[in-house]
Structures are given as structure tokens and as C-alpha cells.
């Protein structure tokens, strides 16, 4: 199971839920699964969101594989200087 954590900015779509556990083998599959449960979240995640998989922050992560029991966080895509 993938443990998914939602920041405050996504909780309007999750009904206030801060985390869930779902089955998924890739980030894309995770987005689809979450979108089924929380309609609209998939589109928001697809654009301008980085994904942290077990602590490693990855921009453009949609095709990344998810290790079993991965911990996933969503972060806004950041700009540096």
C-alpha cells in the first residue's frame, strides 16, 4: 500500500483528509486512483506539482514507479534563484 499525505492546499478536494492508503504501482496510476476517489484532484496534481517519493522530491514524476509501501507527499513546484 502507498501511504499518501495531502497538504493543506489539497484538502479542499479530499474532504479534509490528511492522508490515505491506496494501491498503485506508478505515480500516474496513483493520480488516477486518487481522482476516482477525490474528483478533480488528478488534474491539480498533474500540473505544477512535484512528488516526493520516500523523501526524494521529483519534478515531472508522473511516470515514476512507486516502490511497495512508498510514502508520497505532494509539493508545489518550486523556483530557485
Amino acid at each position: 500500500m502507498i501511504r499518501v499525505h495531502f497538504g493543506q492546499a489539497l484538502r479542499d478536494l479530499t474532504g479534509g483528509l490528511a492522508d490515505v492508503e491506496v494501491e498503485a504501482s506508478t505515480v500516474r496510476e496513483l493520480f488516477r486512483t486518487l481522482d476516482t476517489r477525490f474528483p478533480g484532484i488528478g488534474e491539480r496534481l498533474e500540473h505544477g506539482t512535484s512528488v516526493a517519493i520516500n523523501g526524494e522530491i521529483i519534478a515531472d514524476a508522473v511516470y515514476e514507479a512507486l516502490p511497495a509501501d512508498a510514502e508520497v507527499h505532494f509539493l508545489p513546484t518550486l523556483a530557485g534563484g
Partner: protein, 758 residues
């Protein structure tokens, strides 16, 4: 200067960690290097820009008729010469980008571009720009977050409703959005504290202060394509943004990077390129536009002014229990302050179980803010690290000890969610604690301040191509502008990979048609990410050369190995083949040898810095003199230690300027009162002691050489380190930057009159 290696498995590099002279050094010190303003093409025209004198006004009309008839004038452009992206259905960010380049119906800050002129000479262009008649209806303006959020404040962009607040607002606002980081139970965390400190801090906008003003040359070609030369932090991004504003495909534009005289985040965006391009298209001749310093201050993005309240609780034995904060960041005239990053980074050095951090992005009538080294983090760290220092004063604890007691380590949960991978924050604290500077006795009116900081590293997209030349030497082509010595780092990584003298590697920054796509040089990513691409491309060349050697010897590739720039046969039956020999024979083995690597970099690390500052405050004048400054930062692996130290020192010096002197001063009319380096005072060499550095090396396990980005985090702690030193010297906690002599004297006078000096 010192390097502290925490890595016991250091493989013993031959080139990485050495200090050769940078490949671009000779041209720079002899004046041969070509910067943005140095480009000169046959038939080139000179441009000048007309900017708004008002902070907020409606453009009633623009009359260019008289200007068009003036001597030497060849073309004039206004907003009407550019596509209306809003009407075309573009996203908000692109619409803002285009309107920031040249105003349409309203000007939103002093310095907002209204028109641009191309003429035979710059003087003619400037004279004509002044002859353009603009009829303005002046509107009320807002300059601070308090003014912008006040009831009845003039709205910059009607229709703006604050995002991420409940219930959804029903009225327009200058507050674009709210961002929240939350962990645990803030009330319980504060209730568990023995001591609570709450303070509100303000900082003014500060400019990146790069010495080279913005400059662009554009040449519209008969084919319809446009060739642009400019100095920037990312010529691919310049291409994309310029094409967006012009309304054409990116590949209709070629951008050639010039040398860059400082960027620090401020050259990640375009200002002049579309204006020069459109003027060139109208005239059929190349057009150059160069800003003066006044234009740089008024027309380009500074860092946000801020107002930040921080409330932190701790137990008497120094355990931090909770952090609550509200942050208001000026976005300038268009949405997009770095307040989100501020909330994500401000307490990253500490393990807080309970926190509530709320940030607000606020529109004001000033230039749109731009990134500035670790954008958003220094101001928030100033607030947090000042409050933590005050807690240390209240409970009588050494500031390093308190930080060690609460330090984030591998596995700690960051405020923004994920757990940290391997990080080197504790090692920076230990390095400062064990350094002689931390023990030097202080005299009267002197004080010592400690502060820490965190910043992300970015990965993003990079490409590199490596060519073997006919003499066996190597050319490395990257698409990342070199703003801090990255060409030297690329050469060292290539030399290490091949096992050859670094002098045999020539690094080169290709234009948008010479090398594969590269994201910007920003986010402390270039040595990390483009370095990965260079290393991969070198490995491909090595593999190719080993295969060719095996072909030469009529053996299997498994029977050969690479040793110090040459291929050897494992059984020693043949003399080694050097890269030069293999190059001479490449016609027989398959042709020239080159390889490209393109990647979205992975294994991104995190950067921490801890710094200690000693100051002396003159009680008569309020002048703060920095006596000593020491910074310890985790570089993962210092590829070229001199340029790593240079990054550390540069960040610190800019932070000292932010702390002590730098600020945008505005008149009541909303115009900038100090748009020159005479009145906007950045630190100069005579203001500063040597900035001592300690390079801590806790290798990033995700990178082939252990690299962490080093370019940004150095600017995060200085605001607080200097403020804490001033507090310890004077007994006054200054909560409003900069700590200029006037403000320091005010605080001292308040204290002597029985106040608390706050």
C-alpha cells in the same frame, strides 16, 4: 578556509576537489569576454524604453506621432504591437509575463514599460522616448502589504479573489492566495512550552544588485526567425518566454548566451528581449537595448518586502515545542511572491512536532518580484532565527546547543511533508562550535550572533554533449549559463571521469541550437544536474572508446579496461591506446566520437548552512561594523572548492547588505527615492572582514560525485546572524530591516529612555 569531510569512503579523487583557474577567467580579467551589452552587429540600431512615472495609472492615450519624426528614429512599439494573450486564452502566468514586459491599459508600478524606440543612436532613441505623449489617469496606489490589505484599498487587478481561504471570498482583494503548512496540534504545542516568544518583523524589498545591467540584442532575419543575444540565467527559458510574448513558436527564435555579470535569480526572467525583437522586426535591422541602473532598480524584480509574525514555544531545557507564523510577502504588481517557499523552509533546520505556518501572496504597486538566491527564505529565517535567539537568551542556553538539541537529521519530517534524506545540518553546527572564531572573547559594544538556514536543491532538465577532438582532448558543451564557476566544475567532473588532466577539457556553453534543452541555472542545480549529464556523456564516450580499442585489438570489450585516460588490454599483451591514438584512428573504427546525455536529474539533495557573526555597534552613530564572519555549509562534495567558497561568501555578503543597509525607499507618490548605487548601498570590500568558510562534506548519496547545490543557502542565515549579533551587542532586538544607523540609534535611544529597544 577549511574542508571538513564527513565521508569516510572518499575514493580519493584526482581532479575533483582541486582548484584550477576557471576556463573563462583569462577572458574576463582581460576584458575580452563579451557580456550582454558588448554585442555589435552591422547596421545595429540602439533602443530606449519609456517607463511609467506613476505607481498606478490608467493609460488614456499614447501619441507617438512627434517622436516618430525625430532625427534617427526608425521605429516605436507600444503594447498595441504585441498580441493580447488574455484574449487569446493564455494562462494567467503568461498574460502577466506579457503585460509586465509592456503595459496595456494600466501601468502598475513606477518603471512599467509603456513604449520602446529604435534609432540610429542611443541619445536619439532616448530623446524620442521622452517625446512620446502619454495621457495618464493617475490612480491611488498601495506600497506595503498593510496598505494593500486595508479595507477599501485600491485593487491592482479587479477580479482577484484570494485562493485557499474558507469561505470563498466574495470581494476582490490584493491578496492573491494563502498557503498553509501544518503539523501536530499548535495549541497543545504552545501549552507545553515554558517560554513563548512572539514578534513581528518587517523587511524591505532589496535588489539582487548584479553589476551588469540587463541588455539584449535582437536581429530579425529575412526568414522570419529572430536571433537574440542576451545575458541570462537560462537562454532556453529566455527563448520560451520571448516567444510567448511575441506570439510565435519558440523555435522561431535562437538565443545565444552572453557572459553574465551576476544574476542571483534576477536574470531568470525577460524584460528587454521581446521589445528588441519587435523593434528589429519593424525595422529589419538589429536592435540593442541596454538598461541603466535607474531602470534596473525601477523596472526589474527585487526580492519581496515582507511582514512576518513568529511565535515559538520552548521548554526551559531548550526543547522547541511549537511554531506559529503568519507571513505576508509583497508580490509586486503581479502574483507570485515566494511566500510558499518561505513557509516550507523557515523551520526546516528544526524538528517541530507542532506548527501552523500561514503565508499570503500580496499585490502592491511595485515591480513584480523576482527570485533572489533561495527566494523567500532569508526573510522568514530572519524572523524564526531571531525568535530562537531570544529564546536562548531567555533560558540562558548557548545558541548552538539549542540548535543541536532540536536539529533536523536524516529521517526528520520537514514542515512541507517528506522526511529528510541524508543531510549535513548537525555537521555545520559542530563545525561552527569547534571553530576558534566561536571562542574569541568579545569587547564592549560587541556581540555574537548565530543563525542557520535551509534551502532546497532543484534537479530539472539538463543536456550535455561531449566531443572527442582529433588531438584526444575533450570539448564539453552544456546549455547552462555559468553564473558561478560551473564551467570549471563541468571540466573537473569530465576530467575525473576520463582520468585526464583538466587542462585537456574545454567546457563551452552552447546556444539554443547547439545543445539539447536545458532548464535555467537556478535552484542551486547546475553543478548537480548538468554535472550528471556531463558525467553520463563522458561515460558514453569512454564506453565507445573501449569498444573501439577492442575492435582494434580484435578482442571482446570485456578484455579491456579504462585507466587514466587510456584503454588497456587486461592481459597486457598490447601497448595502451591513449585517447589521442584512438582519435587518430577513429576513421577506421566508426568515425568521430561524441556522446550526448539528456536527463531529468534525480537524487536531489538538501542544503543547510550555519553561520556566526561578530559585530561592534558604535553607540554614538549607530553604525554596525562586522568584525568576523564564519559560515559552515554542507556542499556534499566540493567539486572546485574555491568556487564553492565563493558561493558561500557571496551569499553572506549579500545577506549582510540586506541586514544592514539595503532597502527600496519610496516616496509618498510611490516612486523610488534611491535608484542608484550611491543611495542604495550594497556592501563593498572595505565594509567587510574576510568571510571565513568551512566546507562541510556530507556527500549526497543520490549524486554520482556526492554534490549538493551550494549557490543559494548561504544567503539564508545572515539577516538573522547579524541581527542576533546586534541584539547581543546592544540588548536591543531590531525587528525592522535594514539595521541602518538611524534605526540602530532609534533602538538605542528607546532603550536609554527606559524602553526595551524593540
Amino acid at each position: 578556509m577549511a574542508i571538513i569531510e564527513q565521508d569516510t569512503t572518499n575514493p580519493g579523487f584526482k581532479w575533483i576537489g582541486t582548484r584550477p583557474i576557471r576556463p573563462d577567467g583569462y577572458e574576463k580579467v582581460t576584458g575580452k569576454a563579451r557580456f550582454g551589452a558588448d554585442m555589435m552587429l552591422p547596421g545595429q540600431l540602439e533602443g530606449a524604453v519609456l517607463r511609467s512615472p506613476h505607481a498606478h495609472a490608467r493609460i488614456v492615450s499614447i501619441d507617438t506621432s512627434e517622436a516618430e519624426t525625430m532625427p534617427g528614429v526608425k521605429a516605436i512599439v507600444t503594447g498595441a504591437d504585441f498580441p493580447d494573450l488574455k484574449e487569446a486564452g493564455a494562462g494567467a502566468a503568461d498574460v502577466d509575463l506579457a503585460v509586465n514586459i509592456i503595459a496595456r491599459d494600466k501601468v502598475l508600478y513606477e518603471g512599467h514599460v509603456v513604449a520602446a524606440v529604435a534609432a540610429d543612436t542611443r541619445k536619439q532613441a532616448q530623446a524620442a522616448s521622452k517625446a512620446i505623449k502619454v495621457d495618464y489617469e493617475v490612480l491611488p496606489h498601495v506600497l506595503t502589504v498593510d496598505q494593500a490589505m486595508a479595507p477599501g484599498a485600491p485593487i491592482l487587478h479587479p477580479g482577484t479573489r484570494t485562493k485557499n481561504v474558507e469561505p470563498a471570498p466574495e470581494e476582490d482583494s490584493n491578496v492573491v492566495s494563502r498557503v498553509v503548512q501544518q503539523l501536530g496540534d499548535i495549541d497543545a504545542g504552545l501549552a507545553a512550552a515554558d517560554v513563548i516568544v512572539e514578534r513581528t518583523f518587517t523587511t524591505k524589498p532589496v535588489h539582487q544588485g548584479y553589476i551588469e545591467p540587463h541588455a539584449a540584442v535582437a536581429d530579425a532575419l529575412p526568414s522570419g526567425r529572430v536571433h537574440v543575444w542576451c545575458s541570462s540565467q537560462g537562454h532556453f527559458a529566455m527563448r520560451t518566454m520571448t516567444s510567448t510574448v511575441l506570439g510565435c513558436d519558440p523555435t522561431r527564435i535562437k538565443v545565444t548566451p552572453a557572459e553574465i555579470g551576476g544574476g542571483f535569480g534576477g536574470k531568470l526572467v525577460i524584460y528587454l528581449e521581446p521589445l528588441a525583437a519587435r523593434l528589429s522586426q519593424k525595422t529589419g535591422r538589429p536592435v540593442r537595448i541596454v538598461m541603466n541602473r535607474d531602470e534596473v532598480f525601477k523596472g526589474t524584480g527585487p526580492a519581496s518586502g515582507t511582514k512576518i509574525t513568529v511565535k515559538i514555544g520552548a521548554t526551559n531545557d531548550g526543547k522547541l515545542t511549537a511554531c506559529k507564523s503568519e507571513l505576508f510577502y509583497e508580490a509586486g504588481a503581479f502574483a507570485g511572491s515566494p511566500v510558499g517557499a518561505a513557509t516550507m523552509t523557515m523551520i526546516a533546520p528544526y524538528q517541530f512536532e507542532n506548527l501552523l505556518l500561514e503565508g499570503y501572496d500580496v499585490l502592491v504597486n511595485k515591480p513584480k518580484v523576482a527570485a533572489y538566491r533561495a527566494p523567500g527564505a532569508p526573510m522568514a529565517a530572519y524572523a524564526v532565527e531571531s525568535v530562537i535567539d531570544e529564546i536562548c537568551q531567555k533560558i540562558g542556553m548557548d545558541p548552538i546547543e539549542l540548535r543541536l538539541k532540536n536539529a533536523s537529521v536524516e529521517g526528520s519530517q520537514a514542515a512541507y511533508g517528506p522526511k529528510f534524506p541524508k543531510i549535513g545540518y548537525v555537521e555545520t553546527l559542530e563545525a561552527i562550535k569547534n571553530h576558534p572564531n566561536y571562542q574569541i572573547p568579545l569587547g564592549p559594544n560587541q556581540g555574537r550572533g548565530v543563525a542557520s538556514g535551509f534551502w532546497f536543491n532543484a534537479g530539472m532538465n539538463s543536456s550535455a554533449t561531449v566531443h572527442l577532438n582529433e588531438d584526444g582532448n575533450v570539448t564539453v558543451v552544456v546549455g547552462s549559463p555559468d553564473i558561478g564557476g560551473s564551467r570549471a566544475s563541468m571540466a573537473l567532473m569530465a576530467a575525473e571521469t576520463f582520468g585526464i588532466d583538466v587542462a585537456r577539457v574545454q567546457p563551452f556553453i552552447g546556444d539554443t541550437e547547439t545543445v539539447g534543452f536545458n532548464d535555467v541555472t537556478g535552484g542551486s542545480r547546475t553543478t548537480l544536474a548538468t554535472g550528471q549529464a556531463v558525467t553520463e556523456a563522458c561515460e558514453k564516450v569512454k564506453a565507445d572508446l573501449m569498444a573501439r580499442a577492442a575492435k582494434t585489438w580484435n578482442c571482446d570489450v570485456s578484455e579491456v579496461e579504462w585507466v587514466d585516460g587510456q584503454v588497456q588490454k587486461l592481459d597486457g599483451s598490447e601497448p595502451p591506446l591513449s585517447m589521442a591514438k584512438l582519435a587518430r584512428g577513429w576513421g577506421r573504427t566508426g568515425g568521430p566520437v561524441s556522446a550526448t546525455a539528456s536527463l531529468n536529474a534525480r537524487g536531489v539533495g538538501s542544503a543547510f548552512s550555519t553561520q556566526v557573526c561578530d559585530v561592534e555597534v558604535d553607540p554614538e552613530t549607530g553604525v554596525v561594523r562586522v568584525l568576523r564572519y564564519l559560515t559552515a555549509q554542507d556542499a556534499g562534495r566540493a567539486i572546485h572548492p574555491s568556487y564553492v567558497e565563493g558561493q558561500f561568501q557571496g551569499g553572506v555578503v549579500q545577506g549582510i547588505g540586506w541586514a544592514l543597509n539595503e532597502e527600496y525607499v519610496h516616496t509618498e507618490k510611490g516612486t523610488m527615492d534611491n535608484p542608484s548605487f550611491l543611495d542604495y548601498r550594497i556592501p563593498v570590500a572595505s565594509d567587510l572582514p574576510m568571510i571565513d568558510t568551512i566546507i562541510v562534506e556530507v556527500p549526497n548519496p543520490g549524486h554520482p560525485w556526492g554534490v549538493r547545490g551550494v549557490g543559494e543557502v548561504g544567503i539564508v542565515p545572515p539577516l538573522a546572524a547579524v541581527a542576533n549579533a546586534v541584539s547581543n551587542a546592544t540588548g536591543c532586538r531590531l525587528t525592522d530591516l535594514p539595521m541602518s544607523p538611524m534605526r540602530v540609534l532609534d533602538a538605542l535611544n528607546q532603550k536609554s529612555n527606559g524602553g526595551n529597544g524593540h
